[in-house]
């Protein structure tokens, strides 16, 4: 068994464990680290962030924003949550902070984020225990964003290709 297979086997074990925990106790017992096997949701507000021809969320939706001098992209961890619970979270925590309510969501694997150079998660659990930020976007102090943005586009394109859109 190669190291990669071993790693995947461990991830699967943890994923089942996590699934059972969450099924029994809800999202409050989410593991402190995001597992590659987890399912992520990203809420979509603008129709422009959906490619209606392919049915996938667009790259632009995953471009990071600078918050407190850190580049991040907001997602929530929804592996064991049914659609009703996810939309309840959206209604309670996401929609009030937006000008418009979410029209749908993109759903994809956390694995694809880990596959991008330098990207990982900060599962801050704010404002909801399921919330996490994708962090580790390429940032070079002293170099303007207009010169490094292509790195973000590249990673965002690879992530977006794994996030099909689901209407609300």
């Amino acid at each position: 068994m190669t190291w990669r297979n071993l790693l995947h086997a461990i991830q699967r074990q943890f994923s089942i464990w996590h699934f059972l925990l969450r099924s029994c106790f809800g999202s409050l017992l989410l593991p402190s680290r995001v597992c590659g096997c987890e399912e992520l949701t990203t809420f979509v507000v603008s129709r422009k962030h959906v490619n209606w021809e392919t049915g996938f969320v667009r790259e632009e939706h995953f471009h990071p924003r600078r918050v407190a001098n850190r580049l991040e992209t907001s997602v929530i961890r929804t592996t064991a949550l049914n659609a009703t619970t996810v939309w309840d979270i959206c209604t309670q925590y996401f929609d009030p902070r937006q000008r418009h309510a979410a029209i749908g969501r993109g759903i994809g694997p956390a694995r694809v984020v880990f596959e991008q150079d330098g990207l990982s998660f900060d599962p801050d659990g704010i404002p909801h225990p399921t919330h996490a930020n994708i962090v580790g976007w390429r940032d070079e102090p002293g170099r303007p964003e207009k010169e490094i943005k292509h790195h973000w586009k590249h990673a965002a394109q690879r992530i977006a290709a794994k996030f099909p859109y689901e209407p609300r």
């Binding site: 422009k48 632009e60 418009h100 964003e145 292509h150």
Partner: protein, 171 residues
Amino acid sequence: MTELVLSKSTSIWPFESETRAVSTYGRMLDDLLSIATRQVGRNVQDWDVQIESALAEIVAECSVDDWDGCGAKAVLPETVTITRLVANILHERVPKGTPPPDVLPESDGEIALSWTRTPDRVFSISVGDHGNLNYAGRLADGVEPHDVAEFTARDPTTIQHLALFITQLFR
């Protein structure tokens, strides 16, 4: 006959309506030609129409800060002008029939010109008011160019380079 064909010089295929094939095979070719002509004509026209329409929408909706309710930067008139210029020059350099890009505002105030073939086959150029073009694409397995290039209207090298990527995407 010849005079009639020449008089319709605006048509992409000058024989479009003047020739009528007799055989089944000929009629089939005629139909295919007609479909192809309409397709090419539509795409050529769509570049201008779609880009202008999308830019007008962006100007109307995204010209002030926080246009998305999440702190997005305003799209400046200079960005719109440069995007139009980039799209026009690209249009001249990609093969006929290349579909027009989707034109999308970005949260940092830039505008993206984006081509999609499948979810895994995309090419996108971000245009800002600074004259730098950030591009990234997934053209084939393992062919994923991304970089930043300086754009000047007088030097077509950059656009030529990008046009080749777009051509490759739809090859």
